[in-house]
Symmetry: C2
Subunit: 324 residues, 2 copies
């Protein structure tokens, strides 16, 4: 039996083996080492390994593909932080701040290549399947990031557009991680697809939860400014739902709060009052729960070990309830 | 028989089929369409197809891998232009100028993914071989770009360091193109390696030629400012050889020209006088010719069609003599 810590250790070990600290040119690989060791939870590769474990005891073939997902994920963080001008990442300076933008661009490029490298090392029998899901997903993630950037200048983002964006930007990579785990375990096509769909719903649930916790989470736990999304006028599910459900007067108030120069504390406070009145917190949680429950259902539909399914479900429950 | 125009047409057709002009989100794919249609010579994919043709009449399996090389090459142009703050590319605004840096970063990312996508579509028998050379090469190109950036702040770049840098930044992709052509044609391992080595030497010859033509080419043909590298204090083979061969007084003059604010025309003129006195033009051409001749030798060592070898040699001769 592999505990959660053991699964994380397996991934950390695989990343350590790549020895980014020792590679030349150091200017290229030090930032790779830096971002990969800054305390991420390894959520995606752990999900890949847990998905693999549903179907087999031998996780060996899943380790490199799982690490590939983690590298790709960290590449997206690296480049997104440049594009979003986000200066901090998990309490430390982002790569483009600690070094510079050129370094962040090029080290990110190297990470994409390294992730394909890891996927490519799979056995011939599973290689085409792994490449197919990895390739499709990687492109979708780029499309999702572009949609997210487009939303910045779009005052009327609709719920379905938002869900499509977070599906591409966030969910497909979680779905891919879980499918890759199943493929590595030689699960049949139906089970691989079920794990993909489970991951897609799980990813949506996680992202909606992130949107909610930005305003309603315990500040000290979440490590971010409460209401940071509101301060940046980010179109999250909270704002989109609020604009959808607000009467005309309230909608005007919301847009005024977004457009006018405000004291940060007051801006968040006023917006929260409106959201509370519209019960957006409750509505968004219901949505997130709906996706989460669908993820659980798909998981249980797979033809796999019952005890492992329960462990998988427990794990994603724990992630879902982390700060709610 | 495929003429050169036919080979270019095959590549253009393959890229057209990808329909970047019609893909969504347009903000992501328009820059991909833009950079791929800005009049590049398709040198690398043409070399891949010509390499394939040495061993087989059927080029079908080489087309997508050749297009992958072209996409990867254009991705490097896109990101390098951001890093080098190069505002123009082939007489048109660079992507990061026509759009913005974020667009250039993300569209470039999408192009890397798309290039892996194209490689991945190869038949299972040749897929591992293609992935192996493509993966290795892609990472080396990133390393080469990092070395090139490091050189900007290194006043004492040595010839062997410079050759290593241009090998990684430029030559390995040409070598990979030629090896990929041979792999697609199911050439044996020895011939695949010979084509790789031929390409490596050819790439070095081409880059040294570029360095020379920057100062000694016909300005109107080359489409750039004569001596642009000198104005930007770029460490090219001309400068490195000059510093190596100069006596102490001359070396001081060279460094003074590099470090002091100068009238551009005078700076290039003075530097050219020094280089001419040291016969750097001749020395650099000899070097380039040495690599070129080795490329030809490796080509002729392959066990392939004699007539096709001659055509291949004619083609690379024509590229080498384009403006000399």
């Amino acid at each position: 039996m592999h505990s959660l810590e053991k699964l994380r250790w397996i991934i950390d070990r695989e990343i350590e083996k790549m020895d980014f600290a020792g590679r030349q040119p150091a200017e290229l690989y030090s930032p790779v080492e830096y971002i990969l060791s800054n305390g991420g939870k390894r959520l995606r590769p752990v999900l890949a390994l847990m998905s693999c474990r549903l179907f087999t005891h031998d996780l060996t073939e899943c380790v490199k593909p799982a690490a590939a997902i983690e590298l790709f994920h960290n590449f997206t963080l690296l480049h997104d932080d440049i594009m979003d001008q986000a200066d901090m990442r998990r309490g430390k300076p982002a790569v483009h701040k600690k070094w510079n933008e050129n370094t962040a661009i090029l080290s990110g490029d190297a990470m994409v290549v390294l992730s394909f490298n890891l996927i490519s090392s799979a056995k011939p029998e599973i290689l085409p399947g792994l490449l197919s899901v990895f390739n499709t997903t990687a492109l979708e993630v780029c499309e999702g990031q572009q949609m997210d950037m487009n939303f910045e200048t779009n005052p009327n983002v609709k719920e379905n557009e938002y869900l499509e964006m977070i599906k591409l930007k966030t969910s497909v990579l979680i779905a891919a991680a879980m499918k890759i785990g199943a493929i590595s375990a030689r699960a049949n096509d139906r089970d691989c697809e079920l794990m993909y769909e489970s991951g897609l719903n799980l990813g949506l649930a996680f992202q909606l939860q992130d949107d909610i916790l930005d305003l309603y989470g315990k500040q000290e736990d979440f490590g971010k400014i409460r209401g940071g999304d509101i301060l940046m006028n980010k179109k999250t599910i909270l704002l989109i739902k609020a604009l959808e459900l607000a009467d005309q007067t309230t909608a005007v108030s919301i847009r005024r709060l977004m457009n006018e120069e405000q004291d940060p504390g007051m801006k968040v406070g006023e917006m929260k009052k409106i959201l509370d009145r519209l019960e957006i917190n409750l509505i968004a949680w219901k949505m997130a729960e709906g996706y989460f429950n669908k993820a659980i259902r798909k998981l249980y539909e797979t033809n796999s070990d019952k005890a492992q399914k329960n462990e998988f479900a427990d794990f994603i429950h724990s992630v879902m309830n982390r700060k709610s």
